[in-house]
């Protein structure tokens, strides 16, 4: 009998109460502070939403306005493991919002089919770390569909949403930022929101974009990113970067969560070195906004690019090579990259792995002293 109780009561056990000093060894240092979006992209009413709610809102608008839209993936029916599709099955029925079997290649292949047949497909891959079984469908099929059929067929109505990035304790398989794998694939569009506002606007843009898109959602922002988000339908343009903070000393480029790290770094650089950094949110990885980046690089002459993904072959490499091609004569120092190291994403070592504010700050000093 004692056993029955044991397995039943594990939800609210008191066994550990006899521990003194419950010092949380975890006390994960948050590696960023969220900078809320203060300028809504459109006029009209706004609502305080976090990134999950903003995504849910974009999905809701789509299902409401596009009768052909389907939403599916692992555990999507009950709301998804991050709750992005909460209540949507109830609202739109299980023929439009549904669970799939546990198979990423199936999810994307199915989505390509849905899109090819003319319906809007919004596929969720539960974690970006688990997108690789679908790599073939994405890279060889979705990306090349229009091209290899001579534009007779396309799967532009496919959008893949997937949570990515570090959270403090995700280790190898709940932390990765795979943007550069997809950036290496002509035919795809890849975006990364840094805010609740962008999450909604970018998702709506991707869903309506005529090409297959991947939205990499930094999952640590799901609850942390809270903005006054416009209630109405709107687009955040794909392919356009945003200057989040103006400055003249060093250009700091990032995307997703890293933008918030860089905003804090810019403040630190102001107090410690008395310089004004320009912070650019790239927003869109493929295509990316060469004009905005190079204009800023030419202005400041010093560039730091930071991303969580490893250094070698990371998207920073693409930016750096273009900047040196386009802005060579205006550069005062070599383009610097502060990134995750060339190791798998590690568990307990995460504080040492991240391109955190101190590594960025030290690099700014080097750029200034060059």
């Amino acid at each position: 009998m004692a056993l029955n109780k044991l397995s039943l009561k594990f939800h609210n056990s008191i066994i550990l109460k006899n521990f003194k000093n419950v010092t949380s060894v975890l006390s994960v240092r948050s590696f960023f502070n969220y900078y809320t979006t203060t300028n809504p992209p459109i006029e009209g009413p706004t609502k305080k939403l976090n990134m999950v709610q903003a995504i849910n809102n974009a999905l809701d608008i789509t299902l409401q306005t596009d009768e052909s839209a389907l939403l599916f993936g692992e555990d999507v029916a009950f709301g998804g493991v991050f709750r992005c599709s909460l209540e949507l099955q109830k609202k739109y029925g299980s023929e439009r919002v549904f669970n799939t079997p546990l198979c990423e290649q199936g999810i994307v292949g199915f989505g390509i089919g849905v899109a090819t047949a003319g319906s809007t497909a919004i596929a969720e891959i539960q974690f970006a770390d688990y997108i690789f079984p679908a790599f073939d469908q994405i890279v060889n099929e979705a990306a090349k569909f229009r091209y290899r059929t001579g534009n007779q067929f396309d799967c532009g109505k496919l959008t893949i949403r997937t949570p990515c990035g570090a959270v403090g304790h995700g280790a190898h398989y709940h932390s990765q930022s795979p943007e550069s794998y997809f950036a290496h694939t002509p035919g795809l569009k890849v975006v990364v929101p840094r805010s609740a506002t962008h999450a909604k606007g970018l998702l709506l843009s991707c869903i309506r974009d005529p090409d297959p898109c991947i939205v990499l959602e930094p999952k640590v922002l799901y609850r942390a990113a809270v903005d006054e988000v416009p209630v109405d339908d709107y687009f955040t343009p794909i392919g356009k970067a945003e200057i989040v903070k103006h400055g003249d000393a060093v250009t700091l480029i990032g995307w997703g969560t890293q933008v918030h790290v860089l905003l804090e770094v810019a403040e630190l650089a102001k107090t410690k070195f008395n310089v004004d950094c320009e912070v650019i949110d790239l927003v869109s990885i493929l295509p990316w906004d060469k004009d905005a980046v190079c204009k800023s690089a030419k202005k400041t002459g010093r560039v730091l690019i930071a991303h969580e993904a490893p250094l070698t072959g990371g998207f920073g490499a693409e930016l750096a090579s273009t900047i040196q091609e386009e802005c060579f004569l205006q550069l005062e120092a070599p383009v610097a990259r502060v990134t995750g190291f060339d190791t798998p994403f590690p568990y307990v070592y995460e504080p040492f792995y991240m391109p955190d504010k101190w590594r960025c700050l030290q690099t700014i000093r080097k750029l200034l002293d060059y």
Partner: protein
């Protein structure tokens, strides 16, 4: 009715015609290379209604009685006691580690409630030399093999004693010594790997066992594994824990066939389905699978029907997608640990006093070890850079050196005191 009869006749026929007669000229036998053929003038679907459901083997009924004495595995009292004690210890460890996550002391945990018999029964039927590939909900298998509570706790903390060097999330256990290949989160990747390992171990008097969930069975890798194992004659036991759920997704949204077992014959896999909450049934099935795999160099599929009493993990609240009384039903009336306890009590091998004493010992042991594990520091942070390759390549050495300089300069900004 007709369908059933004809399928019986058909199965008998297939049994008798062992080899495909590729070059036969007789009109009654078959010439197509892809499958055996029996001609029919009757156009009808073959589907899951063409056959009765695959039967489920059971030894202990829910009252803890052996229903058919010829199936009694006749285990020694020592083994029986170890089976039961390990199940209880597993429960206690799960409860404490689950709670510790709730208190923010470890970051994540997954419990094994409801699946104790499937784990312990299968582990007990194998020898330590047999190689294990797990999914993640198989802590009982490790416990049976001798993974200590300290081993579990150290891994969950990723401290300096963790054999995995603090690199993976909690519950990603592994032990070279215990022939348990380290758990990896991406589902189903272990299945084709298990087939390959079994192929390489052929003739060495060892089998490989590979655990997986009914959800994981939907991945393409499961198909690859089954097909490789049969076509390449690999002595591997594919052990499916069919616990009814993959996170929130119920089995009927995962597949529409007769469970995972029904796939076996389609691949040419010898298949067993057992009551996964009956430790003796699981034991007998695994033993038979091992004997068969070794004798014939062929794979076996076992489907153990069970129920995930736990939430999926500490990140999950299953009340959002399944009724509480469903869980209660499985946790009480169909509890596999209770079932074994009832059997032991009928046979005077266990009683309330022993129960109290063992529970007390388990709690004390786990709590002590837990506190010790919590105090231990993490490995040196530069272990982050080792083992990416056998030797650290130059580019990584440079990154490590740069980080060392950086940490030296910004000492107060990094949790260096928690690391060796």
């Amino acid at each position: 009715m007709f369908l059933r009869q004809s399928s019986l006749v058909l199965r008998k026929y297939l049994k008798n015609t062992h080899k495909l007669k590729l070059f036969s000229t007789s009109t009654s036998t078959i010439d197509y290379p892809g499958a055996q053929v029996i001609w029919s003038g009757n156009l009808s679907f073959t589907n899951s209604h063409s056959y009765p459901p695959i039967s489920t083997y059971r030894v202990l009924n829910s009252k803890g009685q052996i229903t058919n004495n010829s199936e009694d595995p006749k285990l020694s009292n020592d083994v029986l006691e170890k089976m039961y004690k390990d199940m209880v210890l597993l429960n206690v460890m799960d409860k404490i580690l689950y709670e510790s996550q709730r208190q923010g002391r470890i970051s994540f945990y997954m419990t094994n409630f409801g699946e104790e018999a499937a784990q312990i029964g299968s582990a007990a039927a194998l020898s330590i030399e047999d190689l294990v590939y797990g999914q993640y909900r198989e802590a009982g298998v490790l416990l049976w093999r001798g993974f200590t509570i300290a081993d579990f706790v150290n891994q969950c903390y990723g401290n300096v004693e963790d054999k995995g060097k603090g690199r993976q999330m909690p519950v990603h256990y592994g032990s070279k010594k215990l022939n348990f290949v380290t758990i990896s989160s991406p589902l189903t990747t272990q299945m084709p790997q298990a087939a390959g390992a079994a192929y390489a171990l052929k003739g060495k008097n060892k089998v490989v066992i590979c655990y997986f969930g009914e959800g994981a069975a939907s991945e393409g890798d499961a198909h690859a594994a089954f097909n490789f194992a049969t076509t390449l004659d690999c002595p591997v036991i594919f052990f499916c824990r069919n616990n009814g759920y993959a996170i929130s997704t119920p089995a009927d949204e995962q597949y529409r066939g007769d469970g995972i077992a029904a796939r076996g014959p389609g691949y040419g896999l010898n298949t067993l389905r057992v009551d996964g909450n009956d430790v003796f049934a699981v034991y007998n099935a695994t033993l038979k699978a091992k004997e068969f795999a070794l004798a014939r160099n062929k794979p076996v599929l076992i489907e153990a029907l069970t129920y995930r009493v736990s939430h999926h993990s500490t990140s999950d609240d299953s009340s959002a997608y399944r009724p509480a009384d469903e869980v209660t039903h499985w946790a009480t009336h169909l509890n596999p640990v209770n079932r074994l306890r009832l059997y032991l009590e009928h046979n005077s091998l266990w009683n309330e006093d022993k129960q109290k004493e063992w529970m007390k010992e388990c709690r004390k042991n786990v709590l002590t070890v837990f506190e010790e594990g919590e105090k231990k520091v993490k490995p040196h942070w530069n272990e982050m850079f080792t083992d990416v390759y056998k030797d650290i390549p130059d580019h990584l050495k440079k990154q490590m050196e740069e980080m060392a300089q950086h940490v030296e300069q910004y000492k107060d900004k990094y949790p260096v005191k928690n690391f060796s």
